[in-house]
Symmetry: none
Subunit: 213 residues, 2 copies
């Protein structure tokens, strides 16, 4: 199907690169300068779901049109939540796909997601607001930046090294700083609400889960 799509789009004048699995696609999207990405969810090695998530976590805002399997393990809401800009369920008509593609190209730039969510925890980068449910939470800059990073990679385990690299922008700092700040965060977003969303994975790092009951 991908090959057919490529031929069709090329016939219309698009320049098309085709990646053969998720890893390959992620690699292309990272390096190449594309105007738009068409991303199937069912891919070998790395699902489209994860490709999209990773790209957005890396602040790559290339417009993404997501294609879902019709049985739909993930539905439209999931796709858009992950940071896809548009979504098309299989089976779809070729004409519709091209129309949506043109729409994305016209819009350009890609959409910066307004707020990040994980369970009833929400973080709005633009307004710099954090809330657990309805109650707002005050964070210092460092805490905010740490939580933002964790939320962009929610449900994944992130190592202290990764955190130091992305939040502190250094890689040779004492990892204890991370432990301390994870503690601060827990006291603000978990403890007062009886939650346990910011979990520690011994020997590996930390993980932010949605249902930290």
């Amino acid at each position: 199907m991908a090959a057919a799509l490529k031929r069709g789009l090329q016939a219309e004048g698009f320049a098309v690169d085709l990646a053969h699995d998720g890893e390959d696609g992620l690699h292309c999207a990272r390096t190449g300068e594309y105007d738009v990405v068409v991303l199937d969810i069912m891919l070998p090695k790395l699902s489209g779901y994860n490709v999209c998530k990773r790209l957005r976590a890396e602040e790559n805002w290339v417009p993404i049109l997501m294609l879902s399997a019709k049985d739909g393990e993930y539905d439209m809401a999931d796709g858009l939540d992950l940071g896809a800009d548009d979504y098309l369920a299989k089976p779809f008509s070729y004409v519709v796909l091209v129309a949506r593609l043109r729409a994305l190209l016209r819009r350009g730039g890609g959409r910066r997601p307004a707020v990040l969510r994980s369970g009833d925890l929400s973080l709005d980068p633009a307004r710099r607001l954090v809330a657990r449910g309805e109650t707002a939470v005050e964070l210092t800059p460092r805490e905010f930046s740490l939580l933002e990073f964790l939320m962009r990679r929610h449900d994944e385990v992130v190592s202290k090294t990764e955190i130091l690299e992305h939040v502190w922008d250094t890689y040779d700092t004492d990892p204890n700083v991370v432990e301390v700040y994870v503690g601060y965060l827990r006291r603000k977003i978990d403890t007062p609400f009886g939650r346990n969303a910011l979990q520690t994975v011994r020997g590996a790092g930390y993980r932010l889960v949605s249902d930290g009951g």
Copy 2:
């Protein structure tokens, strides 16, 4: 009702696209080139209220005719405040709706809102007037320009660097200038009214909120 409206308008020679919920509508309005949008407030997924707000926030000035539920959680003032160009309360006559539509089309272009609002704070760029509620506020040019920038990005945190870039048109000036002028502004739009709308977000910048009680 939407379907009936569509048939009626098509019979009159309009080309009509019908979206089935707020998200879909927003999507259409973003991509398509429409002459006018008829927007109901009560919509699945994303309220018309929000669709309108989002479009205007994206500098999309397509003319919008808003339809309210008769019980009216939001009333006319709200609708117009959000950037709708006209407003019709249910129940309305079909003839009136078409008349209003033609009026909007005649007017054309969509209306760039004349005045910016944030809570009871208003700023009119054309007349260079600022008021908190009913009482006018006198601002120096620099203060005015700073407030205008903050109001165009109200509720967002804007960094001092951004402010320097857009209000001072330089990026290598001492950020202290911004701090000083934020102070001036506060003394004119907040302090005399016992408000706190111009908030500082330590380590990040400033944020102008509507309910700075």
